[in-house]
Structures are given as C-alpha cells and as structure tokens.
Amino acid sequence: MKQSLLIIFTILSLYVFSQENIKGQLHGNFNIDVQQYSEDTIIGASKPSELILMNAYGNFNYTYGNFSAGLRYEAYLNSLEGFDKSYNGQGIAYKYLSYKNQKDLGIIVGNFYEQFGSGLILRSYQEKMLGYDNAFEGVKVNYSGIRGVSFKGLIAKQRLFWTVGDGIVRAIDGDFSINEMFQLENNTQITIGGSFVSKFQADKDPILKLPENVGSGAARLSLSNGGFMLSSEYAYKSQDPSSDNGYIYKNGEALLINATYSAKGIGVYLSAKRVDNMSFRSDRGQKINNLNINYIPDISKIHTYTLASMYQYATQTNGEMGTRAEIMYKFKKESFLGGKNGTEISVSYATAYDINRVSANDTTAIAIKGYDGYKSNFFEIGDELFYNDLNIGLHKKIGDKFKLNVEYLNQTINYEQLRGEVDHSGNKMVYSNIGIVDLTWKIKSKRTLRFEFQGLFTKQDKQDWAMGLIEYTMAPHWFIAVYDAYNYGNLHSDLKIHYVNTSVGYMKNSTRIQLSYGKSMEGVICVGGVCRVVPATNGFALSITSSF
C-alpha cells in the first residue's frame, strides 16, 4: 500500500512537470522539537541514555487542479520523554491521494481525518502536543450534489503508532440544512444531521462471546434565530465489552446540549452533557489515547495560565454528568464601569459528577466482567464529584499603554479519579484557589513588556505555589521571557523548589524558532479534554516551526 502510493505520487509529480501550462502547487510545513536532558533528582527529572531526544515532522501537500496528494514524514529519534516510546523510529506516517471536483464529489484514498457532528461517535484527528493521532487509513467519499445536503461515507482502519489497529470502521453521515433544501426565507435556521458508525473486530476471546460488530448511531440538531443558538447531539452505542468498561455487556449513551444567546456586548453560554459507557475504540483491548473512534468533548473551561491549568479535568468516558454556564459582558466605552476603552468581565461555572449506577438485576453486583454491568437512571446525578470550577475574569485596556487581565478561580478536582492515584499528600480531592494578574505594558511602538503574577493556594497535593513571568517583545522578530514557578508551600523543605525557565524566540513570516533553558514541572497537558502526563525536565529545548 505504502509503496504503490509513493509510485503514484511520483508519476503524478512527473505528469505535472510535463504539463507546463497548468500550475501545480506544493505547500507544507515543518516542526522540530529537540530536548536535551539533565538529571535533577529533586524535581524528578531523569536523564535518558540518549541524552538528547527529538520529535519532528514535515507535511507536503501537492495540489494539481482537482487532484491532490500528500505525505507526512515523521521522525522520533527517540521520542521525547512523556510521549509513548512506541513512536520511536522514522518514516512516512501519513499519505493520501484525493480527487475533488469543484462542489459536489470528493474521494480520498490513503490517510485522512474526519469528524461527524461533535464527534460523539466518530472523530479522527491529530494533536502533536499529545502524541495523539488516530488517522484513518482507507477510503472516504463525500457528496454534496443536492442543495443543502451533504453526505460522507468511509471504510478504514486506524493508525496505531507505526501500524494500523485490528478493527475496521465503517461509517456514514448526512447533514441537512432545512432552510437551503426548501429555500425557506424565515429567520430560523435549522440544520439536522445523523450518522451511523460500525466497527468490526474478530472475537478471539477463549471465554467470553464478544460482539464482533458493534454499531452506534447519532442524531443532531442545531437551531438558530437572531442571537439565539441551540445545538445538541444524542448518541447510542450497542454492547461493546472492552478493557475500558471491564468487559460488561451494556449499551452506551451520550447527550450533549449547548445553548447560547448573544448580542453586541453580551454573551451567555450554557452547556450540559451526560456520558454513559461511551468509550469506543477500533480495538477493544486498547487503552489510553490509542485507536479511539469517537471523541467526547470535555465541557469545562479551557485554562491556559500555568497554575490555572495545574488541575485540569479530562473527559470520563465511562460515565459523567456535567454542566457549565458562562456570562460574558462588556461595559461600554465612556460608561461608569467601562471607562475610556470599555471593560470586559466574565463569570463561568462548570461542574461534573459521576452517573448513578445500580445493579442490573438481583443476582449480580455492579460491573462484573461478562455481565450486563449496571443500570443507570438517565436523569439522576451520581454521588461522586469529579470537578468544580468557578472562574471570574476581568479584561481591561487602560489608556493607550496598558492592558490588564485579572482572573480568580476556585477549583475542586477529584484527583484520584482523574489521575488514578491519590495526590502527593495522600488526598483524594484537591481544593484550590487561584489568582492571576497579567499586565501588558506597551513601552513604545513595537516594544512590549508583559508581566504575569500567579498564585495557587491549596492545603492538598504540593500545597501553595507562586509564579512570576516577564516577557519582552521586540516586534516583529524577537521575544525573550523568564519565569519562576516556586513551590514555596511544600511541606518538605527540600522540595520548596524554584522552577526557573528562560526562553528566547525569533519569528519571521511563517517561521518561528524558540530556544529555552531551565526546569519545568511535572504535570498534565490537556487539549480538548484529552490529556498527556508530562514529566519534569531540566535542560535545553529547541523548537522550530515553518510553513510554506
């Protein structure tokens, strides 16, 4: 497969070369991350025997009229600490050929990514920061020849490091814009959609009789009228005993509802979800981030400040019920609270609990392998708290020279549930208060100084933290930044550590180079509710990205 694709790719390139009057285009990008490791036993930074590790890739996409072809070369020599060592090696990890006529028909063979609706039953994507890549390898067709309607269908296997997984995924999806189909002129926009996904994996279990074909379906609706918008999706999955759910024979369900209202200067966002036994992989025996067919979005607020993201939430696919509400408001310019430039405030609250579970019948306990598992009342919230986050933010421009961002957070996290172990002080729950002040000072044209002050206060885990950051930017090319994260509250005096890190960066057009040196904390990086554990490191790091 790999070889023949490459040959076709070459022929296509040569063909293009011979056609002088039609322009082909080649575009792509590079990303190189190199880290040098020094040992630091106090922070827990280890020194791998390679001393230096690298993750790198380059994408090449070639387009010629309606045809395109591309490949991604990846090299993990060897993969950075914290990434799965199964990536070690190098080669062409992604390649495709595609045809697309102007509007209605598209065909792709080889690798591709896809998402149906919000992803509850199908989403393949890549996130290099997480080392996440569940790309499909197979065939996909989409058709949108009927006004307001678009269809997609695919049959494929999924990427597992340098190979593909066992299972085969078969999937179709339809999207219908009611207003366009019937050329309605009213103000309410209605879009409905539906999808069906089935996976096949042979049953080789000596004891259990496992379903070889597992089906799932989802229906979605979005409505909008003026400033109101509602979008929702419901998904159902047939019995799918797996290592995630302890091999129980129970169906899965998920519901996601988002409602928003907004007008100039005000926005309201409400979200609710329920997930029950919705882990869905093309190999029932896989774990962690491998071979997921679906993606259950996490509805907690995304935090990007270092200390605010220390205790992040991740989607619990086995079961969770969560809600979130947020209000954003902008006090107008020249008003009492708005001042000269206006003031923005936001208040957000998010919470997530377990679902309730009772025995499926009188004779079996909850979640026994090979049985029905449990019964769960759709509307009843479980007792176990997973996550709580109250967040108040203020954003203001002061005069022409200063910009101020202030945030307060109150977070509760079920550390044991999320990390699979108690925290560093032996607690199950971690309660924290976090304060952040971020001030940007425009010294003069193209010269900016930015200060960050962060504090995290907790009686659990590693106790209190303080952090300061100074960043000096010389637009358009250079920046330099220094931060110190200080675990001053740690109960062990030898663990009251300063994590000092310096970085310098250069940017030009679509190229960015960054070199940093120092210590970084162990923690968890999460993107979209999918997380990766990051070990503590000490040393130099170089990062280069470029697009063309």
């Binding site: 918008m229 209202y261 679509s510």
Partner: protein
C-alpha cells in the same frame, strides 16, 4: 529510505519550477449557525483578503484580533480588505465562539473549523497564523505568532496589495 529521498527530490524539483502564487484549498467548514461553508467561497470582489486562524483559548490570537478590530473600519475604507477569522476551537469550545465574538463586538466573518481540516489544508502549525491574499485570491504573505505592533506591518502590506504592488517576503 532511498525511495523517500527520490520522492522528495522530485517534489522539490517540481516545486522549484512552478510559480509560487497560490489559491486556497477547497474544503468544508461551518458557519456560526451550523451551516456547511465551502472555503472556495472565500471572496472579496477583487480586493485583499485576510484569513486569520485563531481560537478562543489562544491569548495572542485574541489580542491580535482585538488590535485589528480597533482599526478595521479604517482598513476597510482605505483598502476594502475583508477579514475571515477561522476559529479552530474544537467541539469542546466551538459553541462558545458566537457569544465570545459578539461580546467583543467583532465585525469579522467568523467561521468554524472544529476538526482543523482547513487549518491542516493550509499547513498551519500553530495559531495565530495570518494569510494575506491579493485580489486574485493568491496567497502573497503569511505570518505566525503575534507581537504588539504586528498589525501595523500587516496594514502596510495590505495597502501594497490593494494597489496591486508585489510583496517581497
């Protein structure tokens, strides 16, 4: 490995002999109210176009769009430029994009790319990433990351493009 070197050299050869001017790839993304939007419909009657990839959780992205917002009217009057702000928020946060944008009062054409289809087709690695297209829809400049004051440089380039001048990157 030999094959790879061969392929890459062929590709690079083709690359060097081809003209560099480009148009944008044709993929399907979504409007804020959930309709399918074809990226071949990114148009501005022969005037310059900016395509800005951003996300609600990306602070430099938001800073850049805020900085441009305060001068956008003036930019439009002088050059007729139109800005497409492509949010790469995934299904976790994409419903939040509309209230976020409206609270800020942004006047851009905001579109949703929740599975990064358009982002990857445009070979964007990190956000923010800005593309400047000339009146014929060809990419004439791109820039990643944001530093205070970058918008002034961008405007100088837009003015050149609006006058039909060439840009030397």
């Amino acid at each position: 490995m030999k094959k790879l070197v061969f392929i890459l050299s062929v590709v690079l050869f083709v690359f060097t002999i081809q003209a560099q001017e480009t148009s944008i790839p044709n993929v399907e993304i979504k409007t804020l109210d959930g309709k399918v939007f074809n990226t071949s419909d990114i148009k501005n009657d022969g005037k310059p176009i900016i395509i800005d990839f951003w996300a609600t959780w990306c602070k430099p992205c938001v800073q850049e769009l805020e900085a441009i917002e305060s001068v956008y009217k003036q930019w439009q009057e002088e050059t007729g430029v139109k800005i497409y702000a492509i949010s790469v928020d995934n299904s976790r946060s994409m419903s939040r994009v509309a209230p976020f944008v409206n609270t800020k009062g942004w006047e851009y054409e905001v579109l949703l790319d929740p599975n990064s289809v358009f982002k990857e087709a445009m070979n964007v690695v990190n956000v923010p990433h800005v593309f400047l297209l000339n009146g014929s829809g060809e990419i004439v400049h791109q820039h990643t990351a944001y530093a205070d004051g970058d918008e002034d440089e961008l405007f100088e380039l837009i003015k050149k493009v609006a006058k039909g001048e060439k840009i030397e990157d």
